[in-house]
């Protein structure tokens, strides 16, 4: 059996204001094995983004345990988190989030620079290789503003892959793309998963794209309410518009 990359047990996140206590995550159990392609889906406010933030070490859980690549990731000190994130996680965002002042190659090289200890020649080689792999090598010296949305997202995926992380966290990666570009990006993710064995956890509310994953985890009110594989999960809940392709 493949090694577990993410292991979350009874994960809770509570936001407190003066008088109100909001349970964004109310005891989530989730594990992701190496090479899996998991989609997390659910209605707005179900806790997807909160779960993503905690899995990405961008936020602290209120309770529960979180192990990433076999290490306790819930109790890392702030200064260790950046290095841990850099080493184990690749991010793909809905809004691409490329740095406008940096060229495509520089954007992709950024995580390697922050990792440190990698010679420039090796860094350049890895950037060239990954850009070639995603078909963006000819755009290496362009700036983000000179690229289409689909191309920008491919660059963002390249940036997520360049450190060969244990897992790629993709947050609505097709949210800002037209259907053609979205398809292309999804095809790229699938290809990376099947061909290179990349482990991917994708948050999306679009079932059309969720079904491309091998496993779908459905959240509701901060809890995992379903965990199923591919098309099966849709069949189980035909009444849920959120799981119906083209639903609201």
């Amino acid at each position: 059996m493949a090694e577990t990359v993410i292991d979350v047990i009874d994960l809770k996140k509570i936001y407190r204001t003066d008088q109100v206590e909001t349970h964004a995550l109310a005891g989530v159990d989730l594990s992701v094995r190496r090479g899996e392609y998991v989609a997390v889906t659910g209605p707005s406010g179900c806790g997807k983004s909160t779960l993503m933030a905690i899995l990405g070490l961008l936020d602290d859980p209120s309770a529960g345990s979180y192990h990433l690549a076999g290490q306790d990731a819930a109790n890392l000190r702030e200064r260790d988190r950046a290095a841990f994130r850099n080493r184990h996680i690749g991010f793909v965002f809905q809004a691409f989030n490329l740095i406008g002042d940096l060229s495509v190659a520089e954007n992709v090289a950024l995580p390697l620079i922050y990792r440190g200890g990698i010679a420039k020649a090796e860094r350049d080689a890895r950037v060239d290789a990954i850009l070639s792999e995603i078909g963006m090598a000819h755009r290496a010296q362009h700036y983000p503003a000179q690229l289409s949305g689909g191309q920008q997202q491919r660059v963002a995926i390249a940036r997520a892959l360049v450190t060969e992380p244990d897992i790629i966290l993709a947050d609505e990666p097709t949210g800002n793309l037209d259907s053609k570009s979205g398809e292309a990006v999804m095809a790229l993710l699938e290809d990376l998963n099947t061909r290179k064995g990349a482990t991917i956890l994708m948050v999306t509310h679009d079932l059309h794209y969720a079904r491309r994953a091998r496993r779908i985890v459905r959240l509701s009110d901060g809890q995992v309410v379903d965990e199923n594989f591919g098309e099966a999960v849709v069949a189980l809940h035909p009444e849920d518009d959120n799981l119906v392709p083209g639903g609201k």
């Binding site: 994130r85 080493r87 991010f91 965002f93 989030n97 740095i99």
Partner: protein, 806 residues
């Protein structure tokens, strides 16, 4: 690591180049402010910090005997005071006397040359710890009647008069009282307040009158371990014994006289025209820098907020907080690299401008020159300023977590805390801008008015010639001969002479005591001019009451006087004084026959201007010493240039053996005399201009950027139904709060600044309302325009566009 650093540096540079507004605004503001600081610090350092050219100068003190009630406020003593102090004050290790001897014609290599000399006690050199460049110091016995006649010459005089020849030692020089042997050359750095070509021995005791003459500077070196307080205590205890028989009429008078010792440097500064100017200019420059820093810090915060997404993303990708902060710090390096040379060039150009005034701004013994300290000041201030500027965004960054990273789009509105900080900085901007504008415009305007006030005479188309007469000449007759010869030349409209003493805007100061002829009337010290009869017409002096001297009065030496209106008001409390009597110390009793308009003798606060009394040259006699130095005012026709050599030739032919030390236009004389204040006025007005630019640039830029960052909020409000006029009102209400608090603080700051500068200001009551009102209106207009423009633009922008601005 090195690659990482160079990558960050490249990115920082590129980021600034691609969005240069912040960098350009910061560079302009800092370069202006730091350049101003460099030039101000240069002057401050040279005057307040640089070592004086004496050994252990900080130990030296100047002893002063002042009688404020009589207008005698120069820090001077009489030789008899000195002799008594040397005997009575045990805390003095050594002390010397110095006085200006003026200029005398001295034949050097067969050609007469004007030589400035100063009689000093031989102990002067030991007290100041002077080591000769060549030769030796005069022996102590040179200060005794039977002692050797030994003099020291200055390095500059040695070079110019003797070509730096070493055989100058042993040669003699005759200053009018017999040949004296040159025994040494002063070091190149030596300088005192003036008259330094030759330092001749002051032989004590002098004749009785001269022993009481309050015309000597006394510098003392206390014994080791003797504090200034102890020395002053000794002086206080011995005051009545030291001053006995001089100036006092009763015990009460002693209490009104000051006899104490003060540290040397501030006393020399007080003697110069500098006063507290170095502090004022440095303070203003620092305020200017404060304004620039606050402006730039506010801009940096706005910029940083716009880049929050980028910084968070970097952290998501693995950058530590320190690495992101380092990027922010690295961005300051290119700014600093550009600011430093620009600020140095600004300071250098300003120094060139000051240097263009030439000798007119030489203030001995200080050497005002552009030096390493200005460059160091630029470096240190640039580093410190950029560090302070980046501190605000760094603090913001250090508090920010990455928990919102997945929703990197940013908020639609500015957070309350961020807005509070920005508003506070905005208020500080307005306060500093207002205060600086008020202070610098007040100082500059005040000096400008003082420099352009009515002089009481007409200097245009007039020349002033200074003549050293041979000691054998009959003084009054010589002046009249010179006047007659010049008057005979058709190129000159009118000519007038003036004897011993000074003339308006001369480089020397000469006060004489005078009092009303009633019992117990106090003595008052004022300028005394001793004119030949043609003087009033030649100088264009206006007689507002009474009349000029008649020819008969003049020729018979009648004791009649003309006084200025200022003098009359000081002494009599009214300017209707024709027919009143006036007792002039050492000269006799005069009857006032005329009153002139106030005559400006030198640029000074009006309440300190002592006024002038004019006594006919023929009425004076010898006054205990030869006139030797006389001046002639010539009103010329046509061009000035041919007149200059002509005057020199006529005078030297009229009085053989005389030396015309200078012939110059009166306008030039005044402009040289006022050069330093003119520079101060120009610097202050430059500061006012810079303050205006910085305030305008900073306030406008920051308000505009804040307003731009509020566009999504405006869009939100518009979406919810706010009308364009309501949006405008919202922007202006915000600005009004800033403005109200800022203007109140600025007015208070300006008031405090004006108050601190009051010793330097003239006509402050007249100009203050204008300066305050003008400054506050200008700043208010800038703030309102800065708030109005972007808000008006936003009010006419489609709501969707505003929302997309987030």
């Amino acid at each position: 690591m090195r690659g990482h650093l160079s990558h960050d540096a490249t990115v920082a540079w590129r980021g600034l180049a691609r969005r240069p507004f912040y960098a350009i605004a910061t560079i302009i503001m800092l370069a202006m402010a730091i350049g101003a600081n460099a030039i101000a610090f240069d002057m401050f350092y040279d005057v307040e910090v640089a070592p004086l050219p004496y050994r252990h100068a900080s130990d030296l003190v100047m002893v002063r005997h002042e009688v404020p009630k009589t207008g005698l406020t120069q820090s001077i003593v009489a030789p008899r005071d000195y002799v008594r102090m040397m005997a009575m004050i045990k805390g003095i290790a050594d002390a010397g006397l110095w006085t200006s001897g003026g200029e005398v014609p001295v034949p050097i290599d067969g050609k007469p040359r004007a030589v400035a000399y100063s009689p000093v006690t031989p102990s002067w050199f030991r007290t100041l710890g002077i080591m000769p460049a060549i030769g030796r110091l005069p022996s102590l016995s040179a200060g005794r009647k039977d002692g050797p006649a030994e003099v020291m010459i200055s390095y500059k005089f040695w070079q110019s008069a003797y070509g730096g020849a070493t055989d100058v030692l042993g040669r003699t020089i005759d200053l009018g009282n017999g040949p004296q042997r040159i025994v040494g050359v002063l070091p190149r750095t030596y300088a005192f307040v003036g008259g330094n070509d030759v330092l001749s021995p002051l032989v004590l005791p002098l004749v009785a009158d001269q022993m009481n003459n309050l015309n000597y500077f006394m510098i003392a070196r206390p014994k080791p371990g003797v504090s200034l307080a102890r020395m002053n205590n000794e002086l206080q205890q011995s005051k009545s014994a030291i001053l006995q028989g001089k100036l006092q009429k009763s015990r009460h008078d002693f209490r009104n006289q000051i006899l104490d010792a003060r540290p040397l440097r501030p006393m020399i500064i007080a003697l110069s025209s500098l006063g507290s100017l170095p502090y004022v200019l440095q303070g203003m420059a620092l305020l200017l820098l404060g304004l620039a820093i606050v402006n730039a810090a506010n801009l940096a915060m706005v910029r940083q907020r716009a880049r929050n997404g980028e910084f968070v993303l970097r952290r998501v990708l693995g950058a530590s907080r320190g690495e992101v902060m380092r990027l922010l710090l690295l961005e300051q390096i290119p700014i600093g690299v550009i600011v430093v040379p620009i600020a140095i060039v600004i300071a250098w150009l300003a120094q060139r401008g000051i240097d263009s005034f030439g000798d007119a701004i030489v203030i001995l013994p200080f050497h005002l020159w552009f030096g390493w300290q200005a460059v160091a000041c630029v470096g240190v201030l640039t580093f410190a300023s950029l560090l302070i500027i980046v501190l605000f965004p760094l603090l913001q960054l250090s508090r920010r977590s990455v928990d919102s990273a997945l929703g990197l789009g940013g908020k639609a509105t500015i957070g309350r805390a961020a807005r509070r900080v920005q508003r506070s900085l905005g208020i500080v901007q307005i306060v500093l801008g207002c205060a600086l504008l008020i202070g610098s415009a007040g100082l500059g305007g005040s000096l400008y008015i003082a420099l352009h006030q009515p002089l009481g005479f007409r200097p245009h188309h007039r020349l002033i010639a200074s003549v050293l007469l041979p000691t054998s000449a009959d003084d009054a007759r010589s002046v009249e001969t010179i006047v007659d010869r010049l008057q005979a030349d058709p190129r000159f409209r009118s000519v007038g002479g003036i004897g011993f003493g000074t003339y308006p805007f001369s480089s020397d100061m000469e006060y004489s005591g005078a009092r009303r002829t009633i019992a117990g009337a106090p003595t008052y010290h004022a300028n005394m001019a001793i004119p030949e009869i043609g003087y009033f017409r030649a100088l264009g002096l206006t007689i507002r009451q009474g009349r000029r001297f008649t020819r008969t009065e003049y020729l018979t030496g009648a004791k009649v006087a003309i006084v200025s209106a200022g003098f009359a008001r000081h002494l009599y409390g009214t300017d209707k004084v024709v027919g009143r009597s006036l007792r002039v110390q050492g000269v006799g009793t005069y009857q006032v026959v005329g009153v002139t308009d106030p005559v400006i003798w030198r640029v000074a606060p009006w309440h300190l201007a002592p006024g002038t009394m004019f006594l006919p040259l023929r009425s004076i006699g010898k006054m205990g010493q030869p006139l030797s130095f006389v001046h002639v005012v010539v009103r010329y026709r046509g061009s000035v240039l041919p007149a200059l050599p002509q005057i020199r030739r006529i005078i030297e032919a009229a009085i053989p053996g005389s030396v015309v030390t200078s012939v110059r236009s009166y306008d030039q004389q005044i402009s040289d005399h006022t050069a330093f204040r003119l520079i101060a006025a120009e610097i202050a007005l430059g500061f006012a201009f810079a303050a205006l630019i910085l305030a305008a640039l900073g306030v406008y830029a920051v308000n505009a950027l804040i307003a731009r960052s509020r566009l999504p909020e405006f869009g939100l409000r518009a979406m919810l139904g706010a009308s364009p006029s309501r949006l405008l009102r919202l922007a202006l209400t915000d600005a009004a709060w800033l403005l109200g608090l800022g203007l109140a603080g600025g007015a208070l700051g300006g008031y405090l600044l004006i108050r601190a500068m009051s010793p330097l200001l003239y006509h402050v009551r007249e100009i203050a309302p204008l300066v305050f009102a003008g400054s506050l209106i200008v700043i208010a207009a800038i703030v309102l325009i800065a708030a109005w423009c972007p808000a008006a633009a936003a009010a006419n922008t489609p709501v969707k566009t505003l929302l997309d601005a987030s």
